[in-house]
């Protein structure tokens, strides 16, 4: 069996709530191969978002390892993890999480602005802007370039968030309830977009959802309940 692109090995994680230690994940394994569309499903509080955050290096596990191409990454220095987040992972959130002060185009450009210091960004800004235009066009928002997030609809914001995740040319896309805040039609559009990306660009996608129908469209589904894996299903 080839090394999976990303794997979480026997992850344990608990949060402190005052004096109390609340276990969230109690030994979870998850892997995704290149080009795979993995969905993690579970009820609220099942720890699915935490698992996603851990795999995306937003947090570090108490016990267990996160491996990228077989190499352990969760214990790397924070600078390196910041770098990995910027280059390897693309994030999509339930609440879109766009920066309200920036226009759509600027929001899409943020990962590149974060990656490059001003002296390397500035000379190439035209090139980057064209890149952004292309990707925005891909998600169908070219008519909204100069708009602020507050002037966009939910679906448009989520598409902008996807464009932002894509501009960094990530290897793995981590989506946290991408359709959770959208009506079923717009949600469907977003899912179509994700599938298209998965197929056309061989992008690995790990998606967290509580919606069975959304999860069903993935290649494989991990079911979490109370911090433990219930089952792994392969899509038909």
């Amino acid at each position: 069996m080839p090394t999976p692109q990303i794997s979480a090995v026997s992850i344990q994680k608990s949060y402190r709530k005052g004096e109390l230690k609340v276990p969230v994940l109690k030994g979870v394994n998850a892997t995704a191969n290149k080009g795979e569309f993995l969905s993690i499903i579970g009820q609220s509080g099942s720890g699915k978002s935490t698992l996603l955050h851990l795999m995306g290096l937003l947090d570090s596990p108490d016990v267990g390892e996160v491996r990228l191409e077989g190499q352990r990454v969760d214990n790397l220095p924070s600078k390196t993890r910041d770098e990995l987040r910027n280059r390897v992972f693309g994030f999509i959130f339930q609440f879109y999480h766009l920066l309200p002060e920036l226009t759509l185009q600027e929001n899409v450009l943020t990962p590149l602005m974060i990656r490059h210091p001003i002296w390397t960004y500035w000379p190439r800004r035209k090139h980057y802007r064209e890149m952004a235009l292309e990707i925005i066009d891909q998600v169908g928002l070219s008519h909204r370039l100069k708009h602020r997030p507050s002037e966009l609809s939910g679906g448009e914001m989520q598409r902008a968030a996807i464009a932002r995740a894509l501009i960094a040319q990530p290897e793995i896309l981590l989506a946290d309830e991408p359709t959770g805040n959208l009506d079923s039609e717009t949600g469907g559009e977003i899912m179509d977009l994700l599938h298209r990306l998965n197929e056309e660009q061989q992008l690995t996608i790990i998606m967290v959802t509580h919606d069975e129908s959304v999860a069903a469209s993935a290649h494989r589904t991990i079911r979490l309940a109370q911090g433990q894996m219930e089952q792994v299903e392969n899509a038909a």
């Binding site: 959130f93 920066l99 974060i114």
Partner: protein, 520 residues
């Protein structure tokens, strides 16, 4: 890159940032205005304090003076001749001045200084302080001397022939006639009365005028015999404050100066002679000019009279040799910064039991120190204003960090490092500081350059003068902007803004991305 974009974007979109900018701006503007005015005041003050004082003053320990100025002046020439621009001797002594006003004798304590006008002018400003030059009654290029101006002569003659003048006078002084009832005119009439010194006025010979001064009496008698309008041998420039008073004009409501003695009048001076024990001497002098230095300390104290006459009267002339005594040598230097060194050398050369060698700053030391202290304390207090602005920024930034918690989480998720997040807020603080102090500097400089117009406006609004010219003697508020002061104020304010943003920035950097994203 994102740091700068966000910092500038926050600056533009956060309304609350405006509050920080305004507080920095006000602090900076106030500091610049106050510093400029203080600097202007202290320069002007220094100027006035320096005023009648020469750069270096060598005074004798005794008021009776020391003989042979030439020998001492040669010595100074030998010690530091290349640095000396001008030198003059004078006699300084305390005395009293008496004049008649509204038929009442008025007596004032004075410092009587015998000078030689041309010599005095060579060691410091003199012409600038004399009323006749200020009013353009004398040729500005002429040297100051003891001659009466034409106006003063005419005034004097008019009053010597007073009797005939009064009889024949046509009403060519209309205001005199019309308002003869009012008090103002009465005072005017009084002030028109020249105060003939008792010695010369033939009409008045009060008892007790058998002065111990043979010179004066003899001299005066001679003059009255030959020409009644001729001035005394003794001449004087009197300090403006000694012979004037201020009153509010009942018609216009303005404060005006009234002179009780005018050039051409005679007054009586008394001081002591050099005998042992000292005896009183009186000298009748004709007022040649009014001295207006702008420093009340001098104006209400100083009377200059002709040196040789004062020496004669005080008995400071050695009978056989005709060598004259002096009490002060005043020296003007080519370069004042060398003064300390020269004073040191002079102190070594002049016997310390006979002479006191001082720079003018030594003489006015306490006053100068007070001015400096005042501005130092004021600066400390004003800097507290900016410190307050700094705490404002601190509080506002904490608010912004809390408000931006989610955005910080997003940026971290997108790969921003902790130091990157921190520098967003630091550059935000820097931007606030720069914008605030930039606008503050502009505002402050604008205020300073229009300060007198603003003062006029304020006076007009409040109906009372904000800046009373009579108190300060300055016709307008003096200001002096030093570029370095502006630079340091702006830099200080910016530094405080950055310092105030450090704490919130650190907090922002420490935020945990997952926790900050979870808030919804």
């Amino acid at each position: 890159m994102y740091k700068y974009l966000l910092a500038t974007r926050y600056l533009r979109t956060r309304f609350i940032a405006l509050a920080s900018i305004i507080s920095v701006m006000l602090g900076v503007a106030t500091m610049i205005v106050v510093n400029s005015v203080m600097a202007g005041f202290s320069v002007e003050m220094k100027d006035r304090l320096h005023g009648v004082l020469a750069d270096v003053i060598i005074s004798t320990a005794s008021m009776n003076g020391v003989a042979d100025a030439h020998r001492w002046m040669d010595m100074i020439e030998n010690i530091g001749g290349d640095q000396v621009e001008g030198m003059t001797t004078s006699v300084e002594v305390y005395g009293m001045m008496t004049f008649k006003y509204a038929n009442e004798p008025i007596t004032r304590p004075i410092t009587l200084v015998g000078i030689e006008p041309r010599g005095k002018a060579s060691v410091g400003p003199l012409k600038e302080y004399l009323g006749s030059y200020q009013d353009g009654l004398r040729d500005p290029n002429s040297d100051p001397n003891w001659e009466l101006t034409d106006e003063a002569k005419e005034y004097r003659e008019n009053w010597v022939f007073r009797g005939s003048w009064e009889e024949t006078a046509e009403p060519n002084w209309p205001e005199f006639e019309e308002t003869s009832e009012s008090t103002t005119t009465t005072e005017q009439t009084d002030s028109e009365t020249p105060n003939f010194a008792e010695g010369t006025s033939p009409a008045v010979t009060p008892p007790g005028n058998e002065i111990e001064n043979p010179f004066l009496v003899e001299d005066a008698k001679q003059q009255t015999e030959t020409d009644p309008t001729a001035p005394h041998k003794g001449r004087a420039y009197i300090g403006h404050g000694l012979i004037s008073y201020q009153m509010t004009d009942p018609k216009t409501g303005e404060v005006v100066d009234r002179l009780m003695v005018r050039p051409g009048d005679d007054i009586q001076l008394s001081t002591v002679n050099t005998a042992m024990p000292p005896g009183p001497v009186s000298l009748g002098v004709t007022v040649v000019d009014i001295l207006k230095t702008g420093m009340s300390e001098y104006d209400s104290n100083l009377v200059y009279c002709n040196l040789d006459y004062l020496q004669d009267v005080r008995g400071m002339v050695h009978p056989g040799t005709n060598v004259r005594d002096f009490t002060t040598i005043q020296i003007k230097l080519k370069d004042y910064s060398q003064a300390g060194e020269l004073v040191k050398k002079l102190k070594a050369a002049f016997p310390p039991d006979m002479f006191i060698v001082q720079t003018w700053e030594d003489k006015q030391g306490p006053l100068l120190a007070a001015v400096e202290m005042e501005s130092a304390i004021l600066n400390v207090l004003l800097f507290l204003i900016i410190a307050v602005a700094g705490f404002g920024i601190l509080a506002i930034f904490f608010m912004i960090v809390v408000e931006k918690t989610r955005d910080i989480g997003i940026m971290k998720a997108l790969g921003a490092s902790a130091s990157g997040i921190m520098s967003i807020f630091l550059s935000y603080g820097l931007a606030l500081g720069i914008v605030g102090s930039g606008v503050g500097v502009a505002l402050g400089l604008l205020f300073v350059s229009y300060i007198n117009e603003i003062e006029t406006g304020l006076s007009w609004i409040t109906g009372r003068p904000v800046f009373n010219e009579d108190i300060y003697y300055f016709s307008e508020i003096p200001t002096m902007v030093s570029p370095w002061m502006v630079f340091w104020v702006a830099l200080g304010a910016t530094t405080i803004a950055v310092l105030a943003s450090i704490l919130p920035a650190r907090r922002a950097a420490k935020l945990h991305p997952v926790q900050s994203l979870r808030y919804e």
